[in-house]
Symmetry: C2
Subunit: 177 residues, 2 copies
């Protein structure tokens, strides 16, 4: 399973591609950041993010795109930009018919470090270890995108089991109705 993780942002949109299955060593296929100038208008910034995400999708042909789920508990201005960058990433994936999975920051942290409240350094350290990298991923912002992809690969089996269970229950209800 090849997952492209996106840590959305207008100024820095982290992207990381990881391949593997739960329970086996994972492989990093690429990591980077799509940047747009903070003083540019929102329109050209979103166009630049779309172009950047498209290039990553073209190059790596992932099976699925995992995007950080945006909450608004943070700074209002930042959150709006994050929501907009995230919309572009989701749009690019969906337009190609790729499934999109959303994971919260705490789900991602818990998946890779065991704690939903881990800090950035801890996440970067675990990403480095889990992907067997010689050094922490550069740029640092992109470590979160790799963590998202890892989180998805590890959570996917549980989610699939859950979805099958729910579907089976619905089907059984349908039969008794």
């Amino acid at each position: 399973m090849r997952v492209l993780g996106v840590d959305p942002g207008l100024t820095r949109c982290g992207i990381g591609v990881v391949e593997g299955v739960a329970g086996r060593p994972l492989t990093m296929l690429g990591v980077g950041v799509v940047r747009t100038p903070a003083d540019a208008d929102i329109g050209p910034r979103l166009v630049a993010i779309e172009r950047g995400v498209e290039e990553w999708l073209d190059e790596h042909r992932p099976d699925l795109v995992a995007v950080e789920r945006v909450f608004s508990q943070h700074n209002v201005r930042t959150v709006m930009g994050t929501a907009q960058a995230s919309a572009v990433a989701v749009l690019c994936a969906s337009r190609r018919g790729l499934p999109v999975a959303l994971h919260t920051p705490s789900e991602v942290k818990a998946a890779v470090t065991g704690s939903g409240r881990a800090d950035k350094a801890q996440v970067a350290a675990m990403v480095t270890r889990l992907l067997r990298l010689a050094a922490p991923p550069r740029p640092a912002d992109a470590a979160d995108a790799l963590a998202l992809a890892i989180c998805h690969i590890w959570r996917a089996p549980a989610q699939n089991r859950l979805q099958r269970a729910v579907a089976a229950q619905h089907a059984s209800k349908g039969r008794t109705a």
Copy 2:
């Protein structure tokens, strides 16, 4: 000047096209709503909004797209969806090289009713009068998109004068430096 106004939303994205210049009677060229099912995933919803906005742009070839500026003082869940729908509209316009203008809800209300705190009915009533429509625009949600377009046409001359004044001041500073 032909302006396509967008009142962004995931469930209902209002669109209205108005042609005219400040100080002259305005003409409505079209009004409608792009809808997406509330129970669908975010990806297909954003793809549907992109398709809808593209169709409106293809049909009406506006000179500019005016989009409501999103604030997060409202319901958190709604605001995220609004920010994402707005991102798609801005992206569609910018990708074609069209200028994008953002106006706040209170700017729009003040422009068409004289009060930044006018209610929806008052805005719809003024849109109907200003565009000389036989009846209030249907669906009602789309009246806000028309109001955005009207707001832009009326504010544009002032903004242009302001921009020219700022540019002139910069140029004069440049000469004395």
